[in-house]
């Protein structure tokens, strides 16, 4: 029983990171129709910004949020406005745009990664912050993971409130459900697309910051997280924001269960789950 | 002789019946019109017959053989072919290649390249597109693109041809030409079912008309019977 609870707790702790990781991607795909293969690179940049601020300037990693998020927001906004907007104007059909935008994201992936390697090298890095455990009865919690869970739930919640309570948030949701109709309401669609891509990048920044607190980081870590994000997003339904929140936690628990049995199989189990899901219900568990 | 027999055909989309319990038969050599307001389920019916969709209930018999549930390419090779509402051609390919594909793959038996080329040439000439033979199909005007689609369907040497809104978006002269074309196809011995909104065309060339509304067959008869039918006028004019 105890071990089961331990597994569950571990899963929840991991799930928070996954949820944040996936939410950004989901937003970018759901509204802007860009399957951003470079998502993991933005996560990596977020992680390294936090790492550098902490180790070089002694800034608390939690403040990394205030830096990594906004920086990536601006980068994302510019990338959408300069690159994807141009691509969209040049592409005849939405289906063609989905294909070519994914390939363009590949290009961006290489650019971002090589700049990162240029600046930060290829070594595995890390720092320790709040790396100790507390016990609640017999159940062990590592403090930094607990902090991560709290922060990720908080971010999810804030973002959820943003989407459901604010004028811009509602416009984003409307644009994802029916862009033309949203335009008729007076929503400037191009601005929304850029905003969504920027928010997606910002989420990646947050995820990177959280990841850097508990996992080793390296400049080529991006693809791994992109794939996890894709898995979660498909799990929750491509483009559904609440879906990817729930999907993140589900995958977290799933991964904890598998790694309790055999840690070596975790990644393989992810992919298997993902492929089966794609075949059985491509619109995701919570998809329409 | 009956060429097509549809019985209790039903299709649900998420609980909503797009087509429900439709029965009808088509006699060899006739032109059957299929009309009804937007969203009445006409195209869904075509999709069910041509194999794009699998019905939830009911069956389709073609020349006495059950074809519902078969793949579209199999149905096509049996001699039942359809065109699409939004003209679906291969835009980058030449007119000839478009039609040739129909001849190569649509015939009931394997056919040699040379023979297929002859069939394609004949079909292109039949619809009057010989002058555009080598042009990319996508560069043609809408009316000619629709002719390419018809020629491609004819090249599969069908016995039954289903035309989905062939005349939508054409001007009156073009509609006249299209009507002529449909009659000439019938004269080749090919049975035709056509969905059409251009009433002038339907009333003039169809021997029999079926009216669909909300997925159900609500009327069937000659053009005269349909145009004076109370139910039909109600649906179209809202009286």
């Amino acid at each position: 029983m105890i071990s089961f609870i331990n597994v569950l707790v571990n899963g929840l702790l991991l799930g928070g990171i996954y949820a944040i990781t996936a939410m950004g991607l989901s937003l970018q795909y759901g509204v802007a129709r860009i399957l951003n293969i470079a998502h993991g690179e933005f996560i990596m940049v977020g992680a390294f910004l936090t790492f550098v601020l902490h180790t070089k300037l002694g800034i608390n990693p939690l403040f990394g949020l205030a830096v990594a998020g906004p920086v990536l927001f601006v980068v994302g906004y510019l990338i959408q406005r300069i690159l994807f907007k141009t691509l969209k104007d040049r592409t005849p059909t939405p289906a063609a745009f989905e294909g070519s935008s994914m390939l363009m994201a590949f290009g961006i992936l290489f650019v971002v990664q090589s700049i990162a390697i240029f600046i930060w090298g290829t070594n595995v890095q890390g720092y320790s912050y709040l790396a100790y455990s507390v016990y609640l009865g017999d159940i062990r919690f590592s403090v930094n993971r607990l902090v991560i869970l709290v922060i990720s739930v908080l971010i999810c919640l804030l973002f959820y409130l943003f989407l459901t309570r604010t004028r811009t948030g509602k416009a984003i949701r409307a644009a994802s459900q029916d862009p033309d109709a949203a335009g008729l309401m007076g929503v400037n669609i191009n601005r929304m697309l850029a905003l969504c891509f920027a928010f997606g990048a910002m989420m990646a920044g947050f995820a990177g910051m959280l990841i850097s607190m508990v996992f080793p980081i390296y400049t080529t870590m991006g693809m791994q997280y992109t794939i996890i994000a894709i898995i979660v997003v498909v799990l929750g339904g491509l483009g559904s924001i609440p879906g990817s929140m729930i999907g993140g936690f589900l995958l977290g628990i799933f991964s904890a269960i598998v790694s309790a049995k055999d840690p070596g199989l975790t990644m393989a189990a992810y992919y298997l789950l993902f492929l089966v899901l794609l075949l059985v219900k491509p619109s995701g568990i919570f998809g329409r | 002789m009956q060429i097509l027999h549809v019985e209790g055909l039903t299709k649900y989309f998420g609980g909503l019946a797009a087509v429900s319990g439709v029965d009808f038969t088509v006699e060899e050599g006739e032109i059957l019109g299929l009309i009804g307001p937007n969203g009445a389920g006409k195209t869904t019916l075509f999709n069910l017959i041509s194999g794009t969709l699998v019905p939830n209930a009911g069956k389709v018999l073609f020349k006495g053989e059950k074809i519902s549930g078969l793949k579209p390419y199999v149905i096509c090779r049996k001699g039942l072919v359809r065109t699409f509402q939004s003209c679906k051609i291969f835009p980058e390919m030449s007119v000839f290649q478009n039609v040739l594909l129909g001849a190569l793959f649509g015939a009931p038996e394997n056919i040699a390249w040379k023979q297929a080329a002859d069939v394609a040439e004949e079909a292109i000439a039949f619809v009057g597109l010989s002058a555009f033979h080598d042009l990319p199909a996508g560069s043609l005007t809408l009316v000619n693109q629709k002719r390419v689609e018809v020629a491609r369907a004819l090249a599969t040497e069908p016995e039954l041809l289903m035309l989905d809104e062939m005349m939508a978006g054409l001007n009156p002269t073009e509609v006249g030409e299209a009507m002529e074309l449909v009659k000439r196809i019938r004269d080749r011995g090919i049975t035709i079912i056509m969905i059409e909104h251009v009433m002038k065309a339907i009333m003039n060339i169809c021997g029999r008309i079926i009216v669909l509304d909300h997925g159900k067959k609500i009327a069937e008869g000659t053009p005269e019977e349909i145009s004076t039918s109370k139910t039909v006028i109600e649906i179209y004019l809202g009286e």
């Binding site: 399957l35 690159l83 691509l87 040049r90 005849p92 289906a95 989905e98 294909g99 070519s100 994914m102 390939l103 363009m104 590949f106 290009g107 961006i108 290489f110 650019v111 090589s114 700049i115 390697i117 240029f118 693809m223 794939i227 894709i230 898995i231 070596g264 199989l265 990644m267 393989a268 992919y271 298997l272 492929l275 794609l278 075949l279 491509p282 | 794009t52 793949k71 390419y73 096509c76 072919v81 699409f84 939004s86 679906k88 051609i89 291969f90 835009p91 390919m93 290649q97 594909l101 190569l104 793959f105 015939a107 297929a116 042009l135 996508g138 005007t141 000619n144 689609e149 491609r152 978006g169």
Partner: protein
């Protein structure tokens, strides 16, 4: 105009034959390093051409090239010692062929972006499962491979390339080539004029993978050690895709030129500016997709057209331009 076309028809085969002949004698005149370099180019040419045989024509972006390549590598790792070289290469191809049949059969329902991410993840799944299998069941990670000399590898690759080009040429000329193009153009219409789209797609996928697997099988002999992370490296999925687009899809020449030029640049960049090469690579990629959607060959064709045709004649409007209502 017609005449120049006819001449062009003869020029291409002659150029190809000359090129192959030249490539066949190159190892006698150059230093070993150049042979290794040419070998890499040939490998990418095979991967890129195979990729575009399926994805370029049908429009389904497959990101499983690495899986088929890796399947070839692993076949050699397991069977290399037991089989004569030609048989080993064919076995690599057959393994990849079977894998592609399987993958094709289970991805029937997936379209567009779903197909791409499915194939991408398949590579990772195979990688992870193999990794786990080696560590937990076999107990040894990876394999050592008997090396074959570079010149032999080079010749085998050259033969595979020639066979591949020939295969593509024959397919393109046959009814099935036309049918594959029609699937890329409008799958629904293709299905309704009697084309067995599903069967054709799977077969084309398997045939293209056969060549990728053969390339993998022979390339394995150039490596000392293979494990699942080396073999199923996602870059083998990405590079061919990018190279094909860079060169231009739609005919044999585009992917061929794309792969050759790109690999050449890559080798130069790696040796001279090893840190910047990915940056340049990525930038070129983004610019290609933005400004050269039809690739290098498309660019060359446009320039050629501008040079050969005088001023564009007016009055073609009635049969020119695209129509928005055609959905495919």
């Amino acid at each position: 105009m017609k005449q120049s076309k006819r001449i062009a028809k003869y020029i291409l085969p002659v150029v190809i034959v000359l090129l192959v002949a030249l490539m066949a004698v190159v190892p006698f005149f150059t230093d070993p390093y150049k042979v290794v370099f040419l070998r890499t180019i040939l490998m990418f040419v095979i991967l890129t051409l195979s990729w575009s045989l399926f994805s370029g024509t049908t429009g389904y972006t497959s990101l499983a090239t690495a899986a088929f390549y890796g399947a070839g590598l692993y076949t050699t790792a397991y069977l290399g010692e037991k089989l004569p070289l030609p048989l080993m290469v064919v076995c690599g191809g057959i393994t990849a062929f079977a894998l592609a049949l399987l993958m094709g059969a289970i991805t029937l329902r997936l379209k567009g972006i779903y197909f791409a991410i499915f194939t991408l993840s398949s590579v990772e799944l195979i990688k992870q499962v193999l990794h786990w299998y080696e560590i937990n069941i076999v107990g040894v990670r990876g394999h050592y491979v008997t090396r074959v000399n570079d010149v032999t590898v080079y010749y085998v690759l050259l033969v595979i390339t020639v066979l591949l080009v020939l295969t593509i040429y024959l397919i393109k000329r046959s009814r099935y080539g036309l049918a594959l193009n029609s699937i890329g153009s409008c799958e629904e219409a293709a299905a309704h004029i009697g084309i067995n789209v599903v069967g054709l797609k799977i077969l084309a996928y398997a045939i293209s993978s056969f060549f990728i697997g053969m390339a993998g099988a022979i390339m394995a002999t150039g490596m000392l050690y293979i494990d699942s992370y080396v073999a199923f490296d996602l870059n083998y999925s990405f590079f061919p895709t990018l190279m094909a687009i860079f060169g231009g899809l739609g005919n044999i020449l585009g992917p061929l030129v794309g792969a050759a030029v790109f690999t050449y640049l890559r080798e130069i960049l790696i040796t001279k500016y090893s840190y910047h090469y990915m940056l340049i690579f990525g930038t070129v990629m983004v610019l290609t997709i933005l400004y050269l959607p039809s690739g290098l060959i498309g660019l060359a064709q446009n320039i050629w057209k501008k040079l050969t045709t005088p001023a564009p004649t007016k009055g073609l409007k009635t049969e020119g331009g695209k129509h928005a209502d055609t959905s495919c």
